[in-house]
């Protein structure tokens, strides 16, 4: 058959984000490859269309438009940073196409054309803090992040949450650093000082990609051990650790919905396929890769169910779709276009892997609108019944964005 289903891949292959996003491009190529081996979808083969938005946010919008208008793709998997997603949102809305977004983010968004397969704050940050409070007896908190919207919002939510839990405001220290910050001497020493007030202290890190390596190197060298002041990170995964000697970091934590070390048959197969595809035994897997895996399979199922790749039909078909995730459960696409995920807390091991020390009982539903921010607590998103991404439960109206 001549006709193919085109899948757009919109990940930066150059510039600052290439470090994280290139892998996601590769994993998409792999998933498409695998699907084609299974005979494609509804008898049609899939074809990947890869472009490079080059970590340049306006270029994301341009490339999204190009993918949809010029290349006629039926779906796009892409973006990492929130700003890149914000940049393409209007394009997907206007051209009525579909975007799968695979990265944990700050929430406060639900758009009809976007499916959020990464974690919302309630699927990562809050459970992680719960763990530290319960299992490590942490009473004093450093919220350290890169100065941009995701950490800002996450920290705002956490601050509200912690204060709600009875933590005194002076027991919370918030610190922001610029992108790519590389000199962590002062901050690490401040953390040490803050942690020497006699209460068990932990660091909640929303430090972004590039800055992490120097941060952890400094932690290691200044001898901040996980046993004294554990650091729990939301943006540090196996890929980031691959650039580090993790010996001095054993015991520091990360909260994700997936770890490569998770011992399930699905995961073993996924890792095997990935390492074969990429041609290296060394390559690791990580959480956003799993998100793409889930998202892609959901999309495949939805297209099969709808019998078409036509956007409206697929969008309507997606909520309720269930696919196995890699941690042994089944993730469901919710009416708010977020998915259910388990939350895992892992400790860094000396081989650069995480050892899961805790996980939620069941799967947690992604919440588009945080319950810990006053203006958003009243909002809810439901694209099935209410057909609205920001329905105000008090005024019983749908906010302006969804028209």
């Amino acid at each position: 058959q001549e006709e193919t289903i085109k899948v757009g891949v919109l990940h930066s292959l150059s510039g600052t984000m290439a470090i994280s996003e290139t892998t996601l491009k590769d994993v998409m190529l792999m998933l498409i490859d695998e699907q084609n081996k299974k005979g494609g979808i509804n008898g049609k083969m899939l074809e990947a269309v890869v472009v490079d938005p080059a970590s340049d946010w306006p270029l994301f919008a341009e490339k999204a438009r190009e993918l949809i208008e010029a290349n006629d793709v039926d779906v796009v998997f892409g973006c990492w940073t929130s700003v890149s997603r914000k940049s393409v949102l209007p394009v997907f809305e206007e051209l009525n196409s579909i975007l799968f977004y695979p990265v944990q983010y700050e929430g406060e968004e639900s758009q009809r054309n976007v499916f959020y397969t990464g974690a919302a704050p309630n699927q990562q940050a809050i459970p992680a803090v719960d763990y530290l409070m319960a299992e490590e007896g942490v009473e004093r908190w450093v919220l350290a992040g890169t100065d941009y919207v995701y950490p800002r919002t996450t920290n705002k939510i956490l601050e509200a949450y912690l204060i709600g839990k009875g933590v005194a405001p002076e027991d919370i220290m918030i610190n922001y650093t610029p992108f790519g910050h590389s000199d962590w001497q002062t901050i690490v020493s401040d953390i040490k000082t803050f942690g020497s007030a006699g209460k068990k202290t932990a660091v909640v890190s929303t430090i972004n990609g590039d800055a992490n390596v120097p941060f952890y190197k400094e932690l290691g060298n200044q001898g901040v051990s996980a046993e004294d002041i554990p650091v729990v990170a939301f943006s540090v995964g196996e890929e980031e650790l691959a650039g580090l000697d993790t010996t001095p970091l054993v015991g520091h934590l990360a909260a994700w919905n997936y770890f490569m070390s998770v011992d399930t048959p699905e995961n073993a197969e996924f890792i095997e396929t990935w390492q074969t595809f990429i041609g290296s035994e060394e390559r690791v897997t990580n959480d956003p890769m799993e998100a793409h895996y889930i998202g892609f399979n959901m999309w495949v199922k939805a297209v099969e169910a709808a019998g078409t790749t036509e956007a409206d039909a697929v969008i309507d078909a997606l909520p309720g779709i269930e696919v196995p995730n890699l941690t042994g459960g089944t993730s469901v696409m919710l009416a708010n276009h977020h998915i259910t995920k388990p939350v895992l807390v892992g400790e860094i091991q000396d081989d650069g892997q995480f050892d899961v020390v805790w996980e939620t009982e069941g799967l947690v539903e992604g919440d588009a609108w945080s319950d810990f921010l006053p203006e958003s607590a009243v909002l809810t998103s439901d694209w099935v019944e209410l057909k609205c991404g920001n329905y105000n439960t008090e005024t019983k109206t749908c906010g302006g964005a969804s028209n």
Binding site: S14, A61, E62, L379, N390
Partner: protein, 367 residues
């Protein structure tokens, strides 16, 4: 003295005119079949870059001020327009707050900061588009030129300026949406931004602005003032001894250029749909310099051409060979510098000139 519209300017403006007429017709009359909608915005964006390049050429090509921070003026213009577009959203934001943009709502601002006042008015915003970059340029230039900061020192502090602004705009406390910037615009002057007609309209506006920018720049550079700018570029100290207050001239051209860059930014924002602190990044400003160098410094038209060319190359290369396009672009830059000392425009003109009469080769000893 030289005429306002010389050959190269004439040809360029004619080409621009054809584009201005053909593109919207091709798009609107044929429902995007002849010229797809995305091409319209894309071309609009290129023309914004072209105007920005002309602005830089004015200071760099003619007055020797190598600004490595011109992106800042562009971005400020873009932000001024973006602020207006945010206000236009009104209560159609996700939180349906009639006064506050969404990002302020979820970061718990309780009222609109004072510097957002007035931006609900289009004309006020349009004024700010020029006034804010102009004021920054004036302030910056006032100090720097009076202190006789020149050469690389000036270049580097312009870079410091844009870098500082980038970091500042990243901060959510600044009230400009942090690193996400301003986005999710709905309409401008009541015209929905997602409609083809609005897009075509914006494209035409940009083309007109570019033409106007080129003509203004040309008028300035062919005047006696323009010649003095060149004197300053070539021998600043000597110019002073002739009684010209160099700082005044520099300040004038710097402010004019900044305003022009601001207009370019203002037209850019609605067409790409987002303005964020990335536009302040030093690398962006360096790229502007590269457009000008590649097109042909000190030629205005060449600068515009260079901007369009590089942007076009980037669009094409990132789609054609997403994994290797940097090789192509980097190679292009190197080849142009090595083999086209007068830029792309120089090449074009030499090719035409050679057809008429063979120009004798330059026989400069390699030292």
């Amino acid at each position: 003295m030289t005429s306002l519209i010389d050959r190269r300017m004439g040809i360029f403006l004619a080409g621009l005119f054809v584009l201005t007429v053909a593109v919207p017709i091709g798009n609107l009359a044929f429902e995007g079949k002849v010229v797809p909608s995305y091409i319209v915005s894309l071309l609009g964006k290129y023309l914004c870059y072209a105007l920005l390049a002309v602005a830089l050429d004015l200071v760099w090509g003619f007055c020797g001020i190598l600004s490595l921070g011109h992106g800042a003026f562009f971005a400020l213009g873009g932000y001024a327009m973006g602020m207006h577009l945010m206000r236009e959203i009104g209560d159609r934001g996700v939180y349906a707050n009639p006064d506050l943009p969404d990002f302020m709502v979820f970061l718990s601002w309780d009222q609109l900061p004072w510097f957002w006042m007035g931006f609900d008015n289009f004309w006020f915003a349009s004024l700010m588009v020029m006034l804010v970059p102009g004021a920054l340029a004036f302030l910056f230039g006032w100090f720097a030129f009076r202190s006789r900061v020149t050469g690389v020192y000036l270049s580097i502090i312009t870079q410091a300026m844009t870098y500082a602004l980038q970091l500042a705009f990243f901060r959510n406390e600044m009230g400009f949406g942090g690193n996400n910037g301003l986005t999710d615009f709905k309409d401008v002057l009541g015209f929905p931004l997602q409609s083809d007609a609005t897009r075509a309209g914006l494209f035409v506006c940009t083309a007109i602005a570019l033409a106007a920018g080129l003509l203004i720049a040309r008028a300035i550079t062919t005047s006696k003032l323009g010649m003095i700018l060149v004197c300053i570029r070539d021998a600043e100290s000597r110019t002073r001894f002739m009684g010209y207050r160099v700082e005044g001239y520099k300040l004038f051209i710097f402010v004019v250029s900044a305003m022009m860059a601001g207009v370019a930014g203002a037209l850019y924002t609605p067409q790409v749909g987002i303005i964020n602190p990335g536009e302040f990044s030093p690398a962006n400003s360096i790229e502007i310099v590269i457009w000008v160098a590649l097109g042909g410094r000190g030629t205005l038209v060449g600068a515009a051409l260079g901007a369009i060319l590089v942007a076009l190359a980037k669009t094409l290369f990132t789609g054609w060979f997403p994994e290797f396009w940097l090789f192509a672009l980097g190679g292009l830059f190197i080849l142009v510098t090595l083999f086209l000392p007068k830029g792309v425009l120089g090449l074009i003109e030499d090719t035409f000139a050679r057809k008429k009469k063979p120009a004798p080769a330059l026989q400069e000893a390699k030292a």
